[in-house]
Structure formats: structure tokens, C-alpha cells
């Protein structure tokens, strides 16, 4: 009996000690992660004043308004299209670069740095560089097009081209990350596996297709999910390049939240949009963790 009490006392003391070490993190998480999550859910159920105070309980009113609003449905459409433009392109461009960077030769470190260099470039810097290249009059892209007798394109002002232009900027900026992750995965493929396939008489392509791709498929999947999450949360490039325009062609979900909250001062409606974003992100993060788990256990 007294032994149990002593054990209980010891574990209580351990708990108090541990909490002292955890307190700084817990405080920050409580104030800036958990409380705002609850507050956001609450805001989404209310009409709010332009100052952000609750004015009237609206129930599902904000959500109903979203479903009726062409702007919100449009922003979902833009976000999906944005993902379609960027995620496969990021993989298709990232994998060959990672394969090249995985070669064993003198000076390979320089190539690895070069191929993954855009990690060092912020989204704002990338957007500014591409905005300059997209310049309709003196930009380098229209000049290169003119060499091929192509038309002069209003990359950021033409509703057909604005989203592909924003997507190109995004793909370039995230390429470095894709290369680093895929390269790390390629380096984890055992030499013996590749050698064995070669001895069996498989050609380069067969080895790539039937040995390397399956071996790195979790990394490919991981890159795809991270890119999708990146699209769901993209803001800076849109704010700099197009401000959601022309005519909503690049009005992806976070930009739409930003507009509703900080320009239209409809905090309740924007909070409801944020809840929808939360559900989407949660779905993809869960997928990512699930695959990560499988990878760790069977990899």
C-alpha cells in the first residue's frame, strides 16, 4: 500500500518536472494554435462586425453562403486546377534531376547544389523574378516566343495564361525540395538490388521502371502530397503576381480567405472558408502520415 503511494508520488513528481520543461511550448501552442482553432470554428458560426467581434449567431449560415457563392466555388475550382498544373509537373521534372544528381562522379556535389538550389529562394523572390520574365513588353519569355514566331502573351493578364504562369513559378520554386527528397530516396536504393536486376539482363529502362520506381514510390507519393498541401496553402506568389485575377482566374483558396477577412472584413465568412481548408489539409496530412507509417514498417 505504502509502496504504491510512493510510486504514485514519484510519478506525480516526474509529471510536475516534465510539465515545467514542456510549459514554454505548451503556452505558445495553447495561445497560437489550439485556442485559435477553437476560436476560428466559433467565428465561422457567427456574423461578425467589421472589427472582428461576434455580432449574431448564424449557425450554418456562413457555410450555406459559401456553397451558394460563385466566388468560393470558383476558388475551389482554381485550387484543384492549380494542383493539376503543378503536382505532376513537379514530379516529372524533379525525378530526372534527382536521377542525374544521384550519379557517382567527381564534382557531383556541385550538381546536387545546383539542382536543389531553389530551396534557398523564397516564394516572394521567385515570384518577383518570374514577374520580370513574364513582362509582356520587354520580358525574356515573350522574346523567346517571338524567336519562334509565337504570339505575344499577356502571361499575367490573360485569364487563360495567368494560372499556368503562377503554376510555372510555383513548380520552379518547389523543384529544389522535390530533388532533395527524391535524391535521398534514390540513395537509399541498395546497389545490390540494381546490380541483381542488371545481372538478370534487364536494360536501363526496365531497371528504372521495375526496380527503382517501386523502391522510391513512397518518396514520390510524399512529394506529391507535400506539393498538394503547398498548393492548398499557396498565397505569396498569387499576391505578388496576380492578386487573384484576372477575373478570379488565380483566386485560390487562401487568397480568397485573405480577401474576405482583410478587405471585405467578413471574418465569419472567411473563418468558414478556413474550416473547409482545414478539412482538406487534414485529409491530405492524414494520407501522408498513413503512408509514412507504412513506409517505416515495410520499407
Amino acid at each position: 500500500m505504502s509502496g504504491r503511494t510512493r510510486a504514485g508520488l514519484a510519478s506525480a513528481r516526474a509529471l510536475v518536472q516534465a510539465l515545467a520543461y514542456l510549459a514554454p511550448s505548451l503556452l505558445v501552442f495553447a495561445v497560437f494554435v489550439f485556442y485559435p482553432l477553437v476560436r476560428n470554428a466559433q467565428l465561422s458560426l457567427y456574423d461578425t462586425t467589421p472589427f472582428g467581434d461576434l455580432s449574431r449567431f448564424a449557425g450554418a449560415g456562413n457555410y450555406a453562403e459559401l456553397l451558394r457563392s460563385g466566388e468560393f466555388l470558383g476558388s475551389l475550382r482554381v485550387t484543384v486546377l492549380f494542383a493539376v498544373y503543378t503536382v505532376p509537373a513537379g514530379l516529372v521534372l524533379g525525378l530526372p534531376l534527382a536521377l542525374l544528381a544521384n550519379r557517382r562522379m567527381r564534382g557531383i556535389a556541385a550538381f546536387r547544389t545546383a539542382y536543389s538550389f531553389t530551396i534557398a529562394v523564397s516564394i516572394a523572390a521567385a515570384a518577383l523574378i518570374w514577374e520580370w520574365m513574364f513582362d509582356p513588353n520587354v520580358g525574356i519569355l515573350n522574346y523567346l516566343l517571338s524567336l519562334a514566331h509565337g504570339p505575344r502573351i499577356g502571361w499575367l493578364t490573360d485569364p487563360h495564361w495567368a494560372l499556368p504562369a503562377v503554376a510555372a513559378t510555383t513548380v520552379w520554386q518547389s523543384l529544389g525540395f522535390n530533388v532533395v527528397v527524391l535524391l535521398a530516396a534514390l540513395q537509399g536504393v541498395p546497389d545490390e538490388l540494381v546490380e541483381a536486376a542488371r545481372i538478370d539482363g534487364s536494360g536501363q529502362w526496365a531497371v528504372f521502371r521495375h526496380v527503382i520506381v517501386p523502391a522510391i514510390s513512397p518518396a514520390l507519393f510524399f512529394v506529391g502530397v507535400v506539393a498538394t498541401l503547398g498548393v492548398l496553402q499557396s498565397f505569396g506568389q498569387i499576391h505578388i503576381l496576380t492578386q487573384g485575377g484576372p477575373v478570379g482566374a488565380t483566386n485560390a483558396i487562401v487568397y480568397s480567405i485573405y480577401r474576405n477577412a482583410f478587405f471585405n472584413f467578413r471574418f465569419g465568412l472567411a473563418a468558414a472558408q478556413a474550416m473547409v481548408l482545414f478539412v482538406l489539409v487534414l485529409a491530405f496530412t492524414t494520407l501522408q502520415f498513413a503512408v509514412f507509417e507504412r513506409w517505416v514498417s515495410y520499407g
Binding site: 516526474a14 542525374l100 530551396i119 534557398a120 523564397s122 520574365m133 520552379w172 530516396a185 487562401v254 473563418a271
Partner: protein
């Protein structure tokens, strides 16, 4: 018995690998064609950056020439001086340095403390609290954006450093990263320290932290890179020109009436310089930080 067989298995594997590696090296003895292709690919990937660098060195009206020139006719550093003074990028750089420095230092401290509790103290509810930490990774910043803006405003922190810094002072990712490293530190060290009468706190700061320098460096570089590159949060909490961080300072420079692309490109080169230096010299750490969630280990 066990260790012996493990060793021999390792030796077999290593012996098997060595010739394989030599063969691979011989095969890779670069075909000049492939080497050329690799250089060409590097140039294409880096082209936007090289073109930005070239643009930043163009003087006067050369930037508006059509067709655009690939090489500047003369090297003009005037754009850099102008960007630093007029924008004023020098002030933005200082703001970002304070913001990112404080976030990095803060995350190193809070994550070390938390990771220590999760790896060296046996306490009831440990699993549950660890899960609570990890759950913050599932909550995107965009969802907490509006309430956090309202909170920071109610603290009177709009347009201040605390407003920029406070929400980022804790990190679940960093805690996880450090915990994984702390778990590799032999438990015997903790027992020995306790017998020596060292307090837990002293054990953390004099033994665990110095032993964990590689993991701390990874976290520091990761934290600095991501806070230096922040965009949306600084855009919301900062109103005045003097308090802008580099990213939004530069972006808003571009939206001004009179726009000189050579000036903006000089600004771009200046603001990516610190991250480029970190990236090139801390490549190993950057890679480890980015792949921590992706690659088992």
C-alpha cells in the same frame, strides 16, 4: 554469438558493396555527353536566378531594352546601393534578422526543453502529450490566421517585433527532431549524472545540448530559413514601412508606381543572399531538415 554473427553479416554486406561501388564508379566515368547534359540542365534550372543577377547589374535604361540583353553591357552596382537606401532594404534586412534570429533562438530553447522531457523523463501522460504536440502539425497556419490576427491585435502587438515572433516560438517539428536525437544518447549518461548529483537541468545544458550540436544545427538552419521566407503573417501584422520584413518589403517595392526591374532584381539577390549562404554551407543540415519527415531514420 549474436554480436559475432552480426559482425560477420556486416562484413559480408560491406565486402559485397565495395566492388559494386567500384563498378558503378567505373561505369560513371563520365561520358562527356552526359556531363555536358548535366551542365546544360543546371543552367536551365538556374536560368531565372542568373537572369535576375544579370538584370540587377544593368545600369540606366538597359533593363528596358528589347530584345533583352543576357549580359549587362557594364557592371553597375548602383542598383544595390539604391535598393539598400531607397527601399529601404537595409532596414528590412535588419527587421528580418531580428525576427528570424529571435524565432530561431526561441525554437532551439523551447524544443530542447520539450524534447528533453519527452526523452529523459518518465511521466504519466507522456504519450498523450507527445501526440498533442504532433497534432499541431496537422493544423495549417492559414486556419489559425484570423484568430491569431485578432489576438495579436488585442495584445497591442500589431506592427511590432513580438507580433512577428511570438506565434512561432514553439515547434512540434523541432521537438520531434531533437527527441529522435536525444533518444540516441545513452541512458547510462543520465544515470551517471544523477549519481554525481547533477540536477536534470544541469544534465540537459552541460551534457545533452553539447552532444546534440548536429541536430540543433539542423533545427536552427531550418527555423531560420522558414522564418526568413515567411510572407503572409508579416504582411498581416505589419503596417508601417519601417517594420517590414525583407519579403514583404520587396514585394511592396514592386507594387510602387515607378518600377525599375533592375532595382527589384538587386533587391531579390540581396534578400536571398543569407539563405543561399546557409544553403550552400549548411547543405547537409538543410537536406536533413527537409527529409526528416520523408525518409525513415
Amino acid at each position: 554469438m549474436m554480436p559475432a554473427s552480426a559482425t560477420s553479416a556486416y562484413e559480408v554486406a560491406a565486402a559485397g558493396r565495395r566492388p559494386a561501388r567500384a563498378r558503378a564508379l567505373r561505369r560513371a566515368a563520365p561520358g562527356a555527353g552526359l556531363g555536358l547534359l548535366m551542365v546544360l540542365v543546371a543552367l536551365i534550372v538556374l536560368f531565372p536566378l542568373l537572369f535576375a543577377l544579370s538584370t540587377s547589374l544593368k545600369g540606366g535604361a538597359e533593363v528596358n531594352l528589347y530584345p533583352p540583353t543576357l549580359w549587362p553591357r557594364s557592371l553597375d552596382l548602383g542598383n544595390y546601393a539604391a535598393a539598400l537606401q531607397q527601399a529601404p532594404l537595409a532596414r528590412f534586412l535588419l527587421n528580418s534578422l531580428i525576427q528570424s534570429g529571435a524565432i530561431t533562438l526561441g525554437q532551439l530553447i523551447t524544443a530542447s526543453l520539450a524534447a528533453f522531457a519527452f526523452s529523459f523523463i518518465e511521466f504519466p501522460g507522456r504519450r498523450w502529450l507527445f501526440f498533442l504536440f504532433l497534432s499541431t502539425l496537422m493544423i495549417p497556419a492559414e486556419v489559425t490566421l484570423i484568430p491569431n490576427y485578432l489576438t495579436v491585435r488585442s495584445f497591442g502587438w500589431l506592427d511590432t517585433y513580438p507580433g512577428l515572433i511570438a506565434p512561432y516560438l514553439a515547434t512540434a517539428f523541432g521537438t520531434f527532431l531533437l527527441r529522435q536525437f536525444f533518444l540516441t544518447i545513452p541512458r547510462e549518461l543520465a544515470d551517471a549524472a544523477r549519481i554525481d548529483g547533477a540536477s536534470r537541468r544541469r544534465f540537459l545544458w552541460t551534457i545533452v545540448v553539447p552532444l546534440s550540436r548536429p541536430a540543433l544545427a539542423t533545427l536552427a538552419i531550418y527555423a531560420f530559413l522558414s522564418s526568413w521566407n515567411q510572407y503572409l503573417w508579416p504582411l498581416l501584422v505589419i503596417n508601417s514601412t519601417e517594420m517590414r520584413t525583407v519579403q514583404i518589403g520587396l514585394a511592396l517595392l514592386q507594387s510602387q508606381e515607378i518600377l525599375s526591374w533592375s532595382l527589384v532584381m538587386a533587391g531579390v539577390i540581396l534578400i536571398i543572399l543569407p539563405t543561399v549562404v546557409l544553403f550552400v554551407f549548411g547543405y547537409r543540415h538543410v537536406v536533413r531538415g527537409l527529409t526528416a519527415g520523408a525518409v525513415k531514420g
